[in-house]
């Protein structure tokens, strides 16, 4: 946080959510081949009209299939991806207005960017292969605390390495990234993000590449550090059981995305136990359990296996082409995310007892 603001400003900023997304859209133009030169470029609607607040010390887990836009939404919420419409605010400051120098900028863009950090799925490619761990971790300290001398810097790095479970630190500090295991690389990436004193860390499939047996350990570490460092987390995963573990331990929410839209959001335990959207139910089906005498892999509660092309998403409710409960009404109108902000919210007509959905004909194909 900056020391440059007066108390009035500070108080106003404290009342604002840490990060607030309002009607955010991210549309990408798809790369065109040489012969498609004269045609209209195809537009991928990665994120379409999402509003969401992230508070201090908050945990939000985003789940969904590949291509549902969860990663794009995550990057938009930390100011790494500019939305094509809508606003992203950090403590009330419009992030992209700060970047462009539009209006009164209370919080400079550089400060926003350093407050919002990311750890990637593949830590191997996000760590410079030619630098030793100690040098990789020295950079953020040099940036945030230019007055700290080399000895103190090394001490801080060692104690943080130990804090992220890399003991003894001296053994690891002088190694290069390729000399570490995937789990160790991810710990270094986490340590590097923490050295920026971030308010929010985006963990973008940060545990997906780890062995199943190491995932719990890595999530526990992130949650421990969340308390110590007062950080919020946006945790992206395609695995509902990991999202549940992280969100429930962090006392946070799960957001379910489908083809660029948020279709359900709620407290972790409530969303898992009482899913309001048929798609959330599909994700539950996809989550393996260790039930005995299970009769093998059962049929999924959906009509088609493959997700439609986000260039040309289905009309109405985007899930209607796969939804086992879909009716004519779902093809025509798009259900909004109903419910109070902060409550369990679902975008499905089935939660409205007097909706015309109930009188329309089921879809079959």
């Amino acid at each position: 946080m900056s020391q440059t603001h007066d108390t009035a400003d500070r108080r106003r900023q404290d009342e604002e959510p840490l990060v607030s997304l309002e009607d955010v859209e991210v549309h990408f133009e798809k790369n065109q081949g040489l012969f498609d030169f004269f045609e209209e470029p195809e537009v991928v609607r990665a994120v379409d009209g999402i509003s969401l607040d992230i508070e201090e010390n908050d945990v939000l887990a985003l789940v969904g299939e590949s291509g549902c836009g969860k990663s794009t939404l995550g990057k938009t919420s930390i100011g790494l991806q500019r939305p094509t419409a809508g606003t992203v605010r950090y403590r009330g400051q419009d992030v992209w207005a700060a970047k462009d120098g539009r209006g009164d900028v209370d919080i400079p863009f550089d400060e926003i960017r350093s407050s919002l950090q990311i750890i990637h799925q593949d830590p191997g490619s996000s760590l410079n292969p030619n630098q030793r761990i100690v040098d990789i971790l020295a950079q953020p300290i040099k940036l945030t605390h230019p007055d700290v001398g080399p000895t103190e810097r090394r001490e801080r790095i060692y104690s943080l390495l130990e804090r992220v479970g890399m003991n003894p630190a001296a053994d690891f500090a002088d190694r290069y990234p390729h000399q570490l295991s995937g789990g160790e690389q991810q710990r270094v990436a986490l340590a590097r993000a923490l050295l920026m004193n971030p308010d929010l860390i985006l963990a973008d499939e940060a545990i997906s590449a780890l062995d199943v047996s190491l995932r719990v350990e890595m999530m526990d570490l992130m949650l421990d550090l969340q308390e110590d460092f007062d950080t919020s987390f946006v945790f992206i995963s395609h695995d509902l059981s990991n999202a549940r573990y992280f969100a429930e331990h962090g006392n946070g929410r799960i957001g379910v995305m489908y083809l660029g839209e948020l279709v359900e959001v709620g407290r972790a335990e409530q969303l898992i136990e009482d899913p309001g959207h048929p798609y959330t139910n599909v994700l539950r089906w996809a989550t393996p359990d260790l039930a005995l005498h299970a009769d093998g892999a059962s049929e999924p509660p959906m009509r088609k296996i493959d997700i439609p092309d986000p260039v040309d998403p289905p009309s109405g409710c985007r899930f209607h082409t796969r939804c086992p409960e879909a009716r004519e009404a779902c093809r025509e109108a798009c259900p909004a995310l109903e419910g109070e902000t902060g409550a369990h919210r679902t975008a499905c007509f089935r939660n409205q007892p007097d909706h015309e959905y109930w009188d329309s004909a089921p879809l079959e194909d």
């Binding site: 299939e65 590949s66 291509g67 295991s181 995937g182 062995d211 199943v212 047996s213 190491l214 995932r215 719990v216 350990e217 999530m219 526990d220 395609h238 695995d239 509902l240 059981s241 990991n242 549940r244 573990y245 429930e248 331990h249 898992i272 139910n281 599909v282 994700l283 539950r284 089906w285 996809a286 989550t287 393996p288 359990d289 260790l290 039930a291 005995l292 005498h293 299970a294 009769d295 093998g296 892999a297 059962s298 049929e299 999924p300 509660p301 088609k304 296996i305 493959d306 997700i307």
Partner: protein
């Protein structure tokens, strides 16, 4: 299960590098029964990919495979896989035992349409192309793909899940009896992984296939497997029918692995990671290789490498203290049979 009709028998398979200095598969013996689905589970670096490659004598150079791999054909004759000539091995690998690896993108030639891959494979094996392509279309349809569209697409025009399914169809086009899969769904999202598992089960039933499915993801393969095998430090440490392995495993490592798995039904507080790290191929400890991490380890474990103990019907466990493991290491999930199944069906009703 009685070992009555094995299709592949691996005996004392060893893979070494550096002139025998480094073991990456250490004296592994296992029989795969005809028409069963075996799930082989191990962490990264446990040697599970070597296990898969050894079955087809496909160890990457300069690794050396020793031991015996026997393949029992449908007609009752037996092939010694390690004695095959390169040409015989090439035919064996597609026509008897096929293999699917993770990452379809690297298995397909990016400049050739998917249909071209099927035709080329059929021609290379002197198979009837028209008949073979009809089979290809049926296999693609079995995998919930639109055959016409997929055959006419370049690999990059398909999603990752479609590519991987097309690759499975390709591996089956010459009608092999056995399908060996090494992390075939690892790069895909969970929903696609589970969908593919369901499809594999349908294929297995329709074509009477034998399947060996290798993965680090125990709960994933548990949905498909009849029998499961757990690898640790380049060796098998427990083999059992699926329900036995999940509900009554005797090896402390298997129990730790089960308890470390995030699970929607497990109470959150009891999930825990496995302490310590698995050994590298150059310093596998003497005695039991799990002893340095094992809460039950004794002097005996550090000195004597445990052989397999019979710990149930068709259940083998390489642990001196399997009885104590069952008594003292509690499983954190509800292995309650009928409840679990009931809840399951209710969800999909």
């Amino acid at each position: 299960m009685d070992a009555t009709d094995p299709i592949i028998e691996m005996r004392n398979a060893r893979v070494t590098y550096d002139d025998g200095e480094t073991f990456v598969l250490d004296d592994v013996s296992m029989a795969v029964e005809r028409n069963e689905v075996v799930g082989v589970v191990g962490e990264s670096g446990s040697g599970k990919s070597m296990f898969a490659s050894a079955m087809l004598d496909a160890i990457p150079d300069p690794g050396r495979l020793s031991g015996e791999i026997l393949y029992h054909k449908d007609d009752g004759t037996t092939i010694d896989v390690l004695e095959l000539s390169p040409e015989e091995l090439r035919k064996f690998r597609w026509e008897e035992v096929a293999m699917v690896f993770q990452g379809a993108m690297s298995s397909f030639n990016p400049t050739m349409k998917v249909g071209g891959h099927f035709e080329e494979t059929l021609k290379a094996h002197d198979a009837d192309v028209i008949e073979g392509m009809a089979r290809a279309e049926e296999l693609l349809a079995d995998l919930y793909l639109d055959p016409e569209r997929v055959l006419d697409s370049y690999p990059h025009e398909l999603s990752g899940g479609m590519q991987q399914r097309a690759l499975i169809a390709l591996s089956l086009v010459l009608e092999p009896n056995v399908l060996v899969m090494d992390e075939p769904t690892a790069a895909l999202d969970l929903l696609m992984q589970r969908s593919i598992l369901m499809l594999l089960q349908e294929l297995q039933e329709k074509y009477d296939l034998t399947m060996v499915f290798i993965t680090h993801d125990l709960p994933l393969v548990a949905a498909l497997a009849d029998r499961m095998a757990v690898m640790y430090a380049f060796d098998l440490i427990e083999v059992a029918p699926r329900d036995q392995l999940i509900g009554d495993s005797g090896h402390p490592y298997t129990r730790a692995l089960l308890n470390s798995t995030p699970n929607l039904d497990a109470p959150l507080e009891e999930m825990r990671a496995i302490e310590g790290q698995s050994p590298a191929p150059i310093n596998v400890p003497s005695g039991c290789s799990y002893a340095p991490r094992c809460p039950l380890a004794t002097e005996e474990c550090r000195e004597v490498d445990p052989e397999f103990y019979e710990t149930g019907v068709g259940h083998s466990t390489a642990c001196h203290h399997w009885e104590r493991a069952r008594e003292t290491i509690d499983l954190n999930f509800e292995a309650v049979e009928d409840d679990a199944v009931g809840a399951d069906t209710e969800d999909h009703a």
